[in-house]
Amino acid sequence: MFTKELLDQSSLLRKKWEDEVKKIVAKYPDQKERWTTVSDLEIKRIYGPEDIKDMDFEKDIAYPGQFPYLRGNQPTGYRGKYWTFRMFSGMGTAVETNKRWHYLLTTGQTGLSTAFDFPTLMGYDTDSPKAKGECGKCGVAIDTIEDFADLIKGVPLDKITTSMTINPPATALWAMYCASAELQGIPLTKIGGTIQNDMLKEFIAQKTLMCPPEPSVKLISDTIEFGTKYVPKWNTISISGYHIREAGATAVQELAFTLRDGMEYVEDAIRRKGLHVDQFAPRLSFFFNSHIDFFEEIAKLRAARRIWAKAMRERYNSQDPRSWWMRFHTQTAGCSLTAQQPYNNVVRTATEALAAVLGGTQSLHTNSLDEVLCLPSDHAVQIALRTQQLIAEETGVANTIDPLAGSYFVEALTNEMEEKAWEYIHKIDDMGGMVAAIEKGFPQMEISDAAYKFQQQIDAQEKIMIGVNKYIEEDEQVDIPFLEIDDSVEAEQLERLAAVKRKRDGRKLAECLKDLAKACKKGDNVMPYCIEAVKNYATVQEICDVYREVYGEYRDPGIY
């Protein structure tokens, strides 16, 4: 990429610089021996032209909107449209959550994102013995379409997009969304949103588990097929790395496992449903973490775009550029925040958000300062949202597209992340794919290794977390308000659920669930049956129990 003359000049000047460095460190040694990213990737003292000399400008870098989309999918960047300010949110009952949602909308967020409670996430109803003590604690409790109606009250489904973080029960919740739209007279062709619906990363990291891998992937292909035919503006999957990273993975592992998961889904949809890749690939979306090491995250996100574009064109023979665009949501890293001196978290979230923007994210959630301790208060969530708005309107980083392109360091790091990710991807290919790799425990063990190593490094102060192992405040009194979900929420929700169960037509519902079971056994697409069932007040658990019955239950093997 550089002329021989330039490289010769650089070589000369670099040698001079190296000699100076040698002299200085002989007298004043570096503060520490290893300078690494939070993922323990070693970073050099300096980067120069020689670090990226083998790059091909046209093939590897190009311009925004040009393959391989390193610099972004869209020619116009953020000048056309900022990333969506999309705050993950859910608490207590649907009514309470709806209130928070309207608060967030009036505070300026531009997309909705749903956090469900654990019973809902795991496909249990509030009245299940397994749900005791969990109702509404870490997200919104949704048992039936009645709760769902309260959740989306006043939300114009044809004007705003909603993301739902839901995995094994994704078909049930998406059915509620679709049914609610239909009941409001809004055609499915007009609604937009995302369901996370990525089971492979559950087995790897997030662990909201229900059925074994094979049927789980089948259900996902059902949603992809249904969306392709009937809900064209919906992203039926958010292939996620966020949770993989939160579980302790390195940035490279997050990148590699996420993309390889994506490839597994592409292959399944083609094989199982006979779809052509370009029928559904434009609606695949991704979800990454933005962790505390600033440049590592920017490089990771840029590498992600380039890897996916190449994979789509070369591995899957995709012809439609819309299939080549990697579109992703980002969330700042929960695991980087501290319970100690929580106001520091505002700064962490800010730099992480900035990295996500410089990495070109389409959508962003910023964590609140109190989220290590509890669900975010109104005030804390306002600061988090303002962080995004401030970055967009005040910092100037949205003025120009992919400002770090051409940086010797950032391009070299981007290349390194891509190279290392491909190594993992090919390794998993050789194992027989991601489902096979999961059954062997491979990604899980990689993550365990990385998480343990990181904790050891923290304990040894090789990696620093301010407030935890450096600049500690002894006898710290944490004085921020704690948002608490009262235990009475459970009692309230139990009553609501009982009332719905009393008033619904039990016989009609039983028929719907029977039809769903039949569809599962025949291998038909479950979505139409789910929609019919939820319209007849099927609960989340009643639908999921059909899956458990037909497909079997999966137990976390407890790999460590």
Partner: protein
Amino acid sequence: MSDRKIRILLAKPGLDGHDRGARVLARCFRDAGFEVIYTGCHQTPEQIASVALQEDVDVVGLSCLSGAHKYLFPQVAKLLQDEGATDITVIGGGIIPEKDMPALYEAGLKGIFTPGATLDSLVEWINTNITPKG
């Protein structure tokens, strides 16, 4: 003096799937020379108590980050007490607000460990407070 190693059951009660802490501890305790049994996620209090008794452990370590600890931790302690297992120490960790801790101690927990606790501090606590059954 017993030659028996300290036996620890690490468990995730309830529906919470955040298992990074529990898994790191499982490794740490194994490396520290304890015998470790890790249940994996999604155990009911009944299942945990049952395994604890079956495996004749010295310590049960419960991990919960979902906010459901107020019900789950005391429930495990109670089930063990009901079986007369006074020689099994119950400890817990995860996201546990300070104001919830007195009730947990009252329910029978002997230690609660929250974000920022070092691996060494946990190993030390166990070595100091636990005598393996004879």
